[in-house]
């Protein structure tokens, strides 16, 4: 017992304890009302289904809990990876996760039995039956578990592979599946670093990707790289791969061997997804078989788990790749815990959906120990078509080999893939003779003939039997799908076939681009200089973005091989300039400068390639090469814009690599007064970088002259700063009180490069003298220097600022997205301004949440979101339209709880989405903050708060640190309480079923408004106008009020169409539109227009009447019989 002396402390502690007791449940109870009733029937009743579908409950808790991946075995039993420990084991908690086998023995579509096949696992994120048991993901390991005594429970456990990373448990290995080639494919996600020992060597994958594994040989390779969190992967009818991304926004992604996709660590280039602007998707399945109608065959099924939707996409072949279109949802629901995450076709031809069932889906952003996380429920739903017969379950296990071969004819992918796996299990000696007979007996007139032969080829591949004659026949198939698939098999057998290189040489000249793409990747697998030389022949025919990517990957991956061979004269790319320039440009190594110079000097370079080669030489060359480029720019034959680009590239070499052209550079001085703006700016920058004495005087004149355009003055001031101390007097003078405020601000910014303390003093003086003027440019420039924040803090603490100046200065600091609490405090104190409160107590938060629920108006919230002053769209896109600095918010409301939204607005760094963590780096004394886009061996590329890509050379890097969110603090400071309530309400509706969910109708979301044209009024045929981006509302309308009049008083707005495949498309327009132009040519004004479009980007411009309350809308619709693939361009 404590004696009296300790009584006070004791009472205090007790009081604190009570506070905690009160506070903790309040925290846990918050929004508990969104925890729904777990009755599956109530959940089912919320489902809105696509026409003709129905859904029944196949299995639910307690038959299973927390399903992560589902896969059927040949008997039609459903294997479920289930984790209750997820997301994070507690100290002392036993790992008790399970593999369950769910069975519907009587085939009535409802499971009646569950067997615990394996227990004692730690967050098993994948399971696929095979090889007499099941392959199971178990955190760092891939296990093979088998039941040897037939009691349904695993009694043999083998670690097949180990060394997989676990840096994030929603990224650990997952998405186990068999390929048509008998190999096991599985995925890992972005934060995972895996180091796997195999008897063939160590394999490493230090980011996301798809692994390819042959268990019987232990050969493990990386099949594809990238995507943030690829939890879906399918092979289509022809063996082509597609994947979805649970943390990316591009919908369906086309995957081919060696492809590098979004967010692969260190990638210099990525192959884009097919549905930019999509929400995140989890799981993927392809519809096949007799139960679904014809127009559903080949559709892809995936899940928008955040917005409670099971989605359907349809694919169209375009060139070497595909385009993808979202169809009406299979299921959409308002049920807060419906979390569809996997989809599989079942033995009866129905579609099965795994429902993780959880009101909380987030991992990183929601506390591991948040009470709202559900650890016990889970459902499997079964989707069928009303009135259509089910598929008879195939009898695969125990079937005779000829019967198994006949199953390769089945329209159901389920049957074909399980039959192939069963044949693989029977082994080559039993299967080979029957397989040869079966192929020999196929009817050449059968429309399926070559697909059947392809299935046979895959069966050979599964059995690891090289079958050259059949391969040769399929490489010559009239069907390009078959040739493409055969080319991939050719690649796999490359080392075991004597004539593989000759075959690939033929395929790389194939009439179909998809075959050429496969050939390019196969040649990369050969890995010799000659093979790379042959691969470049794909450039002799049209190259689209996928084929280009395949070529680029081949060129960069094999650079160590071909570059040495080229230098030594072993290969010369047949002297083909096109091939040479392509591969040299891909390489990005200084070693390509010599061959590039040889190309330039040969005089064979076509004019249209000249500029890009020169730019590359400037980017990689030394003083002599830079001189050559500079001389060409100075010579004045080329158009001014081209000359400007070359000078800028040479200047950039000085800035980035500290090399400058050799010889006398004074000639650049004469260009600082050029009439072409771009050329003038480039020359001014170069003059400053090279400290040209000859230009010093003219720069000073430009900086001080009254009529100098602001942009040019800024450049001249910056250039002067480059001269160092000799410019001090000029800059100090210009930053003083006798100068106009805009010049003064720019001069302070320039002075910061010279003397950060002097600049800070001048800046504070500026704040005092001009309290109404925006000091952002000056403040940002000082904060960009090492020690800048401290310098202003010191300068301001000796002064008293007008309160308005202090407010503007604080806003300027915040807009740099750096946390400078001392500086903000000093400015606030100096101006007598209170710092707004940004952390709410639980009670305050609950009060706010109650107001949002009762009185938040999403329509008013959207208007606030769209306000220019609020800057939201500058950084955040909705459905792909808007800035890229922050995450796309298309379904944020469906995934994030409101307390999270409130916190993210008030305190942006509290919780941050993956890939949106800012870095602050110091290089050459300059500080840059931004989100990392990529990092290579030589440079770091950040996207800064202004959506600019900033390249930081790693050589110059002095410091780097994690910097939380790049979203400025205090964006909500100017909002009234009701405005904040409305804004959060709007965000919380985004993606939920209702008016704030983005639908499937293709509608223009990103527009550009004319601000001014060079010749006064708008000339649709000229390209001299200035535009600024505006965006449609979530509903897809552009308020006319957002279309400001240009300097000439016109209201002109345009949007762009990206045509992947030519053809007719219908354009539906609404709103007060007057005149319309397509690519500068007038169109008749009508509400519905049929356009016949060629591939590429087309611009649709229109003038509109000033009707403040009206809206513009542009929609695309299909034209019957047309195969055109058109979408509106999104982006910033």
């Amino acid at each position: 017992m404590p004696n009296f002396r300790y009584g006070y402390a004791h009472v205090c502690l007790l009081a604190f304890g009570i506070l905690l007791l009160v506070a903790a449940p309040a925290q846990a109870q918050r929004e508990l009302k969104v925890i729904p009733d777990p009755d599956p029937e109530l959940e089912r009743q919320t489902f809105q289904l696509a026409e003709g579908l129905e859904v029944n409950l196949y299995a639910a808790d307690p038959l299973l809990a927390k399903p992560i991946q589902i896969n059927f075995d040949a008997q039609g039993r459903l294997w479920v990876a289930s984790s209750e420990v997820y997301p994070h084991i507690k100290p002392g908690q036993p790992a008790t996760d399970k593999i369950l086998v769910v069975e519907d023995a009587d085939g009535d579509g409802v499971a009646e039995k569950t067997t615990v096949f394996a227990d004692g696992l730690l967050i098993p994120t994948g399971v696929v039956p095979g090889d007499g048991g099941a392959y199971v993901a178990n955190s760092t390991e891939m296990l093979h578990l088998a039941d040897t005594n037939g009691d349904g429970k695993a009694d043999r456990r083998r670690v097949v592979l180990s060394g997989f990373g676990t840096e994030d448990t929603h990224h650990i290995i997952h998405t186990f599946r068999w390929g048509p080639d008998g190999m096991l494919y599985f995925n890992q996600s972005i934060y995972i670093h895996s180091h796997i020992e195999t008897p063939w060597g160590v394999r490493r994958l230090n980011s996301a990707g798809i692994w390819q594994f042959r268990p019987e040989t232990m050969q493990l390779e990386v099949f594809a790289r990238g995507l943030c969190n690829p939890w879906g992967h399918i092979f289509d009818h022809w063996g082509q791969s597609f994947a979805t991304d649970g943390a990316g926004g591009e919908g369906i992604n086309y995957v081919f061997p060696g492809v590098v996709m979004f967010t692969y660590a260190g990638a210099k280039r990525v192959s884009p997804g097919l549905n930019p602007g999509s929400p995140k998707h989890c799981g993927l399945e392809v519809i096949s078989g007799g139960h679904f109608p014809d127009d559903w065959q080949g559709s892809l099924v995936t899940n928008d788990f955040r917005a409670h939707r099971v989605c359907r996409f349809s694919l169209t072949e375009v060139g070497s790749g595909y385009s993808s279109k979202e169809e009406t949802e299979i299921i959409k629901s308002t049920h807060a815990a419906f979390r569809p995450i996997d989809a599989k076709m079942g033995p009866d031809g129905a579609l099965y959906i795994a429902d993780w069932y959880n009101p909380i889906i987030q991992h990183g952003e929601v506390d591991f120990r948040d009470d709202r996380r559900d650890h016990t429920h889970g459902r499997i739903w079964r989707v069928t078509f009303k009135g259509r017969p089910l598929v008879k379950r195939p009898q695969i296990v125990g079937a005779e080999i000829p019967a198994l071969l006949e199953m390769l004819r089945a329209p159901e992918e389920f049957t074909r893939s399980h039959a192939k796996l069963e044949l693989k299990a029977r082994g080559p000696s039993e299967v080979q003779p029957a397989l040869a007979n079966w192929v020999a007996g196929l009817d050449a007139e059968d429309p399926q003939f070559d697909h059947l032969r392809l299935e046979a080829l895959w069966t050979y591949q599964s059995l690891d039997l090289v079958e050259a004659p059949l391969l040769d026949k399929l490489l010559a198939s009239p069907d390009h799908h078959v040739r493409a698939a055969a080319a991939r098999v050719l690649s796999a057998w490359n080392r075991r076939l004597p004539k593989s290189l000759a075959a690939m040489t033929t395929m790389v000249a194939d009439p179909h681009p998809q075959v050429r793409l496969e050939a390019v990747r196969a040649l990369a697998g050969v890995g010799t200089p000659e093979a790379v030389e042959i691969a470049m022949r794909a450039l002799d025919q049209p190259v689209d973005r996928f084929l280009d990517h395949a070529l680029w990957v081949t060129a960069t991956d094999l650079q160590p091989i071909w570059l040495s061979a080229l230098e030594s004269g072993q290969i010369d790319f047949d002297g083909n300039v096109k091939h040479l320039t392509y591969i040299l440009q891909a390489a990005g190594s200084p070693r390509v400068v010599a061959p590039l110079m040889a190309l330039l000097e040969s005089g064979q370079l076509p004019a249209e390639r000249r500029e890009s080669v020169l730019l590359l030489v400037a980017a990689l060359g030394g003083p002599a090469e830079l001189r050559l480029v500079l001389d060409l720019a100075l010579a004045g034959n080329a158009p001014a814009d081209q000359r400007a680009a070359l000078i800028a590239a040479v200047a950039s070499a000085t800035r980035m690599r500290k090399v400058q052209p050799e010889g006398n550079l004074d000639a650049i001085a004469s260009l600082t007064g050029d009439s072409n703006g771009a050329l003038r700016l480039a020359a001014i920058e170069a003059a400053g970088l090279w400290k040209l004495t000859a230009a010093n005087k003219s720069l000073t004149e430009i900086a001080t002259a009254e009529g100098t355009p602001a942009e040019v003055r800024r450049a001249a001031l910056d250039a002067l700063a480059g001269y160092g101390d000799q410019s001090r007097d000029v800059l100090t003078g210009l930053s003083g009180s006798s100068t106009p405020v805009s010049t003064r601000t720019a001069a302070v910014a320039a002075l910061a490069k010279l003397d950060v303390k002097a600049a800070a003093a001048q800046c504070v003086q500026l704040l005092k003298d001009q309290p109404q003027s925006d000091p952002a440019a000056a403040v940002a420039a000082i904060l960009d220097r090492n020690g800048g924040a401290a310098a202003i803090t010191e300068a301001v603490s000796k002064q008293t600022l007008p309160s308005d100046a202090a407010k503007l200065a604080v806003r300027a600091v915040r807009s740099t997205a750096r946390e400078e609490p001392e500086l903000v405090a000093a400015i606030s104190k100096s101006g007598g301004v209170a710092t707004p409160k940004r952390k709410l107590s639980p009670e305050e938060l609950n009060q706010l949440l109650a107001e949002i629920e009762a009185g938040g108006d999403p329509a008013r919230g959207e208007a606030i979101f769209r306000r220019e002053a609020q800057n939201c769209l500058k950084c955040h896109a909705i459905a792909g339209a808007g800035g890229r600095v922050g995450p796309d918010l298309v379904s944020i409301g469906a995934s994030a709880q409101r307390d999270y939204l409130v916190e993210s607005i008030l305190d942006p760094s509290a919780k941050i989405k993956e890939n949106y963590h800012a870095l602050t780096v110091v290089a050459d004394g300059i500080i840059t903050s931004g989100v990392k886009i990529r990092e290579t061996d030589t440079e770091l590329v950040l996207r800064d708060v202004e959506d600019r890509e900033v390249v930081v050379p790693l050589d110059a890097l002095e410091a780097r640190k994690e910097a939380g969110s790049i979203m400025p603090v205090g964006l909500a400071d100017e909002l009234t309480r009701q405005e904040l309530v409305d804004l959060v309400r709007f965000l919380s509706e985004l993606g939920k079923v209702g008016p704030y969910a983005v639908g499937q109708t293709p509608v223009a979301r990103r527009w550009e408004v004319l601000t001014g044209a060079a010749n006064g009024s708008y000339d649709p045929s000229a390209d001299d106008a200035k535009w600024t981006s505006v965006y449609s509302t979530v509903g897809g309308n552009l308020p006319v009020a957002a279309v400001a009049a240009s300097t000439s008083g016109e209201r002109v707005v345009r949007c762009q169409l990206d045509v992947a495949k030519a053809g007719q498309v219908e354009l539906r327009l609404a709103g007060p539109i007057e005149r319309i132009w397509l690519d500068g040519k007038p169109l008749e004004r009508a509400d519905v227009l049929t356009l016949d479009l060629s591939p590429g980007v087309h611009t649709l411009a229109m003038t509109v009447r000033d009707e403040p309350n009206a809206h513009l809308r542009a929609e695309l619709a299909e034209v019957a019989g047309s195969t055109a693939q058109v979408q509106f361009l999104g982006g910033k």
Binding site: I123, V159, S162, E167, E197, T198, P199, V202, M218
Partner: protein, 420 residues
């Protein structure tokens, strides 16, 4: 039960011969190095550093159990820092950073543990680079040794084990084994120059030498549980440690009991029963795991011989548990004891070690590290408080391990079976 025992005795002679060779080789290389004899002292902290061979051994615990039971009652901590795919550069430990960061993690972790003994097992992954990569490996090894020297720990080098030939389509290991030998020879040379001991796994785990009767790996390079079980006593010998002898011979008529490796007391003889209490010097190795083949070498040779029994069958019970039976002539030839409370204790010890290793794994390589201490720690860093909560759990297991490493007295009863 009977047939098993007979089989074990038959295998005995073969094993003894093989073991003789192994011990001889180890003894030889030990003298060549002039390294001090291997011993773990009270208070030692042993760090096992290497790649998958080391990493996976923590899940089976056989080698660690052998070392723990070798020094009963001593407080010795084992920290398994194996990481799949790792090399002397710490490449697998790099996380989000470059390889150098991996080396830094390795260094920081090893130094923070203040080890007194380090078992260092690299070279296997590096050997895939062949002869051309040897110099790079040795440079990396030198840098690593500089760091490890800072600990002042006794360093024992483990050479990479050979690749087992499991037939096609798995790779033919001929070339890789030549490369492995190259690296192994280089490691032995470095150890010799430094006067460090070598545990020559390349030699000790040579499939021919192991004569396991079945593959000891399932992919050529990684031991199965059976492989680890069988390897443990061979690795002990490779460290120069003597075999665990255990033999009791009884001459009832004379009332004589001679024992090696165990202390016998309270002997009582009657025509129907012989009873005594035995306190072993060392625990045996744990019993063979489930994946062991039926025909397999024995790892312990515990023989009880009883001469001159009256004809008939006799059952041996230890603490009342029946563990063997034979007729009088069988007992006179000697019966192999392969089960009973000592084996159960050894197995319990091994399981405790495995459980401890799992807890320690969560301690040093927790999942979700990105959120707990990495660049997203502002989100879940509050949950990093759970990481040190594993420490007391590890410590409790270690106390239990120390207790379990000590043999306890057991009552043996040889009882004549009633004739039918």
């Amino acid at each position: 039960m009977n047939s098993t025992i007979i089989r074990l005795i038959q295998n005995c002679a073969v094993i003894a011969a093989v073991v003789g060779v192994a011990t001889g080789a180890a003894a030889q290389s030990a003298t060549a190095n002039e390294a001090p004899a291997f011993e773990l002292k009270d208070g030692d902290r042993v760090v096992l550093l290497g790649s998958t061979f080391v990493e996976r051994s923590q899940q089976h615990g056989h080698f660690e159990a052998a070392l723990a039971s070798r020094y009963p009652g001593r407080h010795v901590q084992f920290r398994n820092l194996g990481w799949s795919g790792d090399n002397v550069f710490g490449e697998s430990r790099a996380g989000f950073g470059p390889v150098e960061e991996g080396f830094k993690h390795l260094k920081d972790h090893v130094l923070s543990l203040k080890p007194t003994v380090i078992l260092l097992g690299y070279g296997g992954n590096e050997a895939f680079a062949g002869k051309a990569g040897l110099e790079n490996f040795l440079t990396g090894l030198e840098t690593l040794l500089k760091v490890l020297n800072e600990t002042g720990a006794r360093i024992v080098f483990m050479t990479p084990p050979p690749q087992e030939d499991l037939g096609r389509p798995l790779p033919d290991p001929k070339q890789h084994n030549q490369d492995l030998k190259l690296y192994r020879d280089a490691i032995i040379k470095v150890a010799g120059q430094r006067g460090n001991q070598v545990l020559d796994l390349y030699e000790v785990l040579d499939p021919k030498r192991l004569a396991a009767g079945a593959p000891v790996t399932d992919n050529g390079i990684h031991l199965t549980e059976f492989g680890y079980w069988l390897a443990a006593p061979h690795m002990e010998r490779g460290l120069g440690l003597a075999d665990r002898e255990w033999q009791i011979a009884i001459e009832p008529k004379q009332g004589n009991i001679s024992a090696r490796g165990t202390q016998v007391s309270q002997a009582r003889f009657s025509p129907e029963t012989i009873q005594f209490v035995a306190l072993d010097a060392l625990l045996p190795h744990p019993p063979a795991p489930d994946d062991a083949p039926q025909e397999r070498p024995a790892v312990d040779r515990r023989t009880l011989r009883v001469f001159d029994l009256a004809p008939g069958g006799y059952v041996l019970k230890i603490d009342g548990q029946q563990v063997a039976s034979a007729d009088a002539s069988g007992w006179a030839r000697g019966v192999e004891i392969a089960a009973g409370p000592e084996f159960q204790q050894a197995e319990k010890l091994r399981r405790e070690i495995v459980a401890k290793n799992e807890l320690y794994f969560h301690r040093w390589r927790p999942q979700n590290i990105t959120y707990l201490t990495g660049f997203r720690k502002h989100e879940q860093g509050n949950n990093a408080v759970e990481i040190p909560q594993f420490d007391p759990l590890v410590e409790a297991r270690e106390n239990e391990i120390r207790t379990l490493s000590q043999p306890v007295p057991h009552t043996y009863q040889l009882v004549r079976e009633a004739s039918e």
